[in-house]
């Protein structure tokens, strides 16, 4: 195709925008000097850590800033028309007709008490004045357009009756009903599973192409940006520090902050040795603490000079539309970067042992569900069970880490809860240090509780908000009498230091800590009793990438120091690879593939593992990744599919097994051993699975 020689003006043009919030301390400038253009049929990605002003920019475009927010400087032009200073009435009309928004949580955008059909049709009857029937038909068309299975039926349902991925598709369909010129998406896939996310991202790509829509895409995930964006703006502490095409930014980042971000994202497909993470030291300053008249990144920058601390750099062009806000972009060579002293700990390889610390065999955890039949009222109903964990067997050698991955609802957390004693298993055996861990928590030996600790996903909800940090860490010390009472204080300080927090944190309350610091306290608390086994349930998924890198490094360092064994639950396959020695892939309560981490990420794959890997967004726009998308959602565990639990969604069985894979529907698959430790739960012969190409090939 010939290049388009027409010069279209940008759909959206931001020039030197500054947005402030009125607070008790006066006006706080949340965003300043933000400029970018968004053209038709292109996606502009805004990336950065939390608190950098990404969402403020998105809300600013449509002046959704709330009562205390205001645009104080600059201009925002939509289709040549100034938006700053418009009345709410005028903006409302634009928002309905030409600008649409999609936010992170689809459930908040949908009315739970109105059917999906009515909500969609309302858009058309209100904004277009269409008749009800016509609006209905158009809504069904649009639902099919966003690949909603059985669109006509979905119209009759309520939002809670469809899955999260489908809800987000409804929201996207609703946004597109008016054929907007500009679509603002604020973390639209962050709350979704990786397989669902992949489908939604594909959808966004298709819609951009077919509708010529300009998209502003806000996310913290560098992998997602590489997959959907054409242009990227990197934000740091309220300023745009670098903008350019996605290829230029990933290939040759010019700003030290962007370079730092790239170094702290785990990459899939690289070896474990090279996948070391380098956190950025320090943290994003709060708006009122930002350096004035200086480079805002200077306090965390490895290259900062006196000039950076006394002069504010401008966003300037480096080459071909690639701009960076740094004095030294031409001089800095990211290849030559060496981590400063003490940024990453030296991590020795885990000691080789054969001895299994924990051995689980045929573990089952079922939840009983009352049947709805009348007979159940008199106790005669047939009991139904949700098989949250079914026939799970594994063992972890001492000092090693087992990563557990899978979509949500696969029983990862239930498995952890069963081992730690929060759920009683229905059957099976679990041996840990000679203890039987199938007994409920209240009957457990204190010694066993001490040796088995947990780090939770959300540090906010696992800490008592009214106890100081010191108090929270002292409690397990007292309870388990790890140290004599007199030296408890010293021990807490030692633990705080071990998680890189100084003694002053002893008296702080959880609300005075950042998310990363809270998670460090959570880790210190888990290690206070010097446990043999620590179960980490998504310990970093609520954290920003640079903090995530620091917490992961810390966990690994402490693990080596104490020789602790870990079970690490995560949905992010790239994090698991970096962190684990062994990986177990779970689907619908079953472990479907387990083995040493290196083997999981290379063929032969269980088809489910292959699909998971091909869905992971890779932070490299040039990497080639296989395109496998799973249909539908995880089936209900109340009524799991017969035969192989994965057969309803398996993309491989029809092509790789005789008779279209009928065997998968009727017969449970065997465990096939690839190596002694690596086994796959599948009917497809290993020789066939070995022939598959690796999912990720780097160029």
């Amino acid at each position: 195709m010939t290049a388009d020689i027409r010069q279209h003006s940008p759909i959206l043009k931001l020039e030197d925008v500054a947005i402030s919030y009125e607070t008790r301390y006066g006006d706080v400038e949340a965003v300043r000097q933000v400029s970018f253009d968004v053209h038709r049929a292109t996606t502009f990605g805004v990336v950065g850590e939390s608190g950098c002003g990404k969402s403020t920019v998105a809300f600013g475009i449509v002046d959704f800033l709330g009562a205390n927010g205001k645009i104080v400087d600059g201009s925002i032009k939509f289709q040549g028309r100034e938006l700053v200073g418009r009345s709410q009435a005028e903006l409302r009309k634009l928002r309905g007709d030409q600008i649409a928004m999609v936010y992170q949580d689809p459930m908040q955008a949908l009315n739970p008490s109105v059917t999906i059909g009515d909500q969609l049709a309302e858009v058309l009857t209100t904004h277009r004045g269409l008749a009800k029937n016509e609006a209905r038909q158009k809504s069904i068309d649009m639902l099919s357009r966003v690949y909603m299975p059985d669109a006509a039926n979905v119209m009759k349902r309520y939002p809670h009756q469809i899955s999260g991925g489908q809800q987000q598709r409804v929201v996207i369909a609703m946004a597109l009903l008016n054929n907007p010129a500009l679509l603002i998406m604020d973390e639209p896939t962050t709350a979704l599973d990786v397989t669902v996310e992949a489908v939604v991202l594909d959808l966004i790509e298709d819609l951009k192409r077919d509708f010529d829509t300009a998209i502003v895409y806000i996310t913290h995930d560098l992998g997602v940006v590489a997959r959907v964006c054409n242009y990227v703006g990197v934000m740091y502490a309220g300023e745009m520090v670098e903008t350019g095409s996605v290829e230029a930014i990933y290939d040759d980042p010019q700003h030290p902050y962007t370079q730092g971000l790239m170094r702290c994202v785990p990459k899939l497909g690289t070896t474990k040795e090279s996948s070391r993470l380098y956190p950025i030291r320090g943290r994003v300053p709060a708006p009122k603490d930002r350096p004035k008249g200086a480079c805002i990144f200077a306090p965390r920058c490895d290259y900062a000079t006196d000039k950076c601390h006394t002069e504010h750099p401008l966003l300037r062009e480096i080459q071909n539309g690639h701009r960076a806000r740094c004095f030294y972009s031409e001089v800095i060579d990211p290849e030559a970067w060496e981590p400063p002293e003490g940024l990453v700990p030296e991590i020795a390889p885990a000691p080789e042992t054969e001895e299994a610390l924990i051995r689980v065999s045929d573990l089952r955890t079922y939840y009983e569900q009352e049947s709805r039949s009348v007979l159940s009222l008199v106790g005669l109903g047939k009991k139904q069970y949700v098989k949250a964990v079914d026939e799970v067997s594994f063992s972890i050698p001492r000092g090693k880490t087992l990563g557990v991955v899978g979509e949500s609802g696969c029983g990862k957390s239930t498995l952890a809860k069963t081992i730690v004693g929060l759920e009683a298993p229905t059957g099976g055996e679990a041996q840990f240090l000679g203890f039987d861990v199938t007994v409920p928590l209240s009957n457990r030996d204190l010694k066993l509780i001490q040796e088995l600790q947990m780090v939770f996903q959300n540090p906010d909800s696992t800490m008592n908000p009214s106890y100081t940090v010191g108090h929270q860490i002292t409690r397990p010390l007292e309870r388990f009498r790890t140290v004599p009472k007199a030296s408890a204080y010293d021990e807490v300080i030692r633990l705080l230091n071990a998680v890189r927090l100084d003694g002053s944190y002893y008296h702080r309350l959880p609300r005075q800590l950042s998310g990363g610091e809270k998670q460090r306290v959570g880790i210190a608390r888990a290690f206070a009793s010097r446990p043999e086994l620590v179960l980490c349930d998504e310990p970093v998924s609520a954290l920003d990438v640079s903090v995530q890198a620091a917490v992961l490094n810390l966990l690994m360092e402490i693990q080596r120091e104490y020789g602790t064994t870990m079970m690490f639950i995560a949905h992010d396959l790239s994090v698991v690879r970096f962190f684990s020695d062994y990986v177990a892939v779970m689907y619908l309560g079953h472990v479907v593939e387990i083995g040493p981490a290196e083997d999981i990420y290379a063929p032969p794959y269980m088809p489910y593992t292959e699909a998971l890997l091909s869905a992971v967004p890779i932070p490299d726009p040039t990497a080639e990744q296989k395109h496998i998308r799973l249909e539908g959602t995880v089936p209900s565990a109340l009524n799991p599919p017969s035969g192989c639990v994965f057969h309803t969604r398996c993309p491989r069985r029809a092509e790789m097994l005789p008779d279209g894979g009928r065997i998968c529907e009727v017969e449970k698959p065997p465990w096939q051993h690839n190596t002694e430790e690596h086994r796959i739960y599948c009917h497809i012969p290993l020789e066939e699975l070995r022939k598959l190409d690796p999912v990720v090939t780097e160029v």
Partner: protein, 217 residues
């Protein structure tokens, strides 16, 4: 080649109540010459062009300075636009040539693309020119040849099969009756991967064909 594939989607739109001053500002900002006027739901009600915004001097001549200012500041888009049914529009499924004909016949520079009363795009003369240039292979390098052929069935097939037999490819082509010579047609083709001399030999060797122009672009 249908209008829906070549139109500009999401045209810049204005409301009837907008002042002409602001409409002029938008035209300057976005460097466009036509503004469809819409009501709620992107329902097309009119069209403003640069010409329409030019106030005829005669209408101001009787006014004094103060009156002129008031006249201009009160002037809204609805006062100057081409109204409702007078706007010539086209549907998204029309062919490009039909659109070009319509524009030529009415001597207009743009066609709002309307589907059930709702504007979905706009097709301007510039869009058509871009496609004309593309049809004849502008922007691609190759050998551009003009051949004069007799007005008979099957002559074009001779050219294509001669080129195909050599393993070359035709990137673009177009043909028109030779001006003032109804018995012949002039055919323009753009050929890639072909050495110029050899190409001419092949084309000249077809009986009745005459290569009248060759240029390397």
């Amino acid at each position: 080649m249908f209008v829906r594939d070549y139109m500009t989607k999401h045209p810049v739109l204005v409301e009837p109540t907008m002042s002409t001053v602001e409409a002029q500002g938008i035209m300057a900002e976005t460097n466009i010459r036509h503004l469809p006027v819409v009501e709620t739901g992107k329902r097309l009600v009119g069209l403003v062009t640069r010409e329409r915004l030019r106030i005829p001097a005669a209408s101001l001549s009787s006014l004094n300075v103060w009156e002129i200012t008031r006249f201009l500041s009160n002037l809204a888009v609805k006062d100057v636009m081409v109204k409702g049914r007078d706007v010539i529009t086209i549907g998204p499924d029309a062919t490009l040539e039909a659109a070009a004909e319509t524009m030529a016949r009415h001597k207009i520079g743009c066609l709002p693309v309307v589907e059930e009363g709702i504007i979905t795009g706009i097709l301007t003369e510039v869009d058509l020119l871009v496609q004309l240039a593309g049809l004849l292979g502008a922007g691609v390098s190759g050998v551009r040849v003009t051949i004069r052929v007799p007005d008979r069935l099957g002559e074009f097939a001779k050219i294509t099969s001669a080129i195909a037999s050599k393993g070359w490819g035709i990137y673009a082509s177009g043909g028109l009756p030779t001006p003032k010579q109804p018995e012949t047609w002039d055919i323009v083709i753009k050929v890639r991967l072909a050495p110029q001399e050899e190409l001419i030999d092949v084309l000249q060797s077809i009986e009745g064909h005459q290569v009248i122009d060759v240029r390397e672009t």
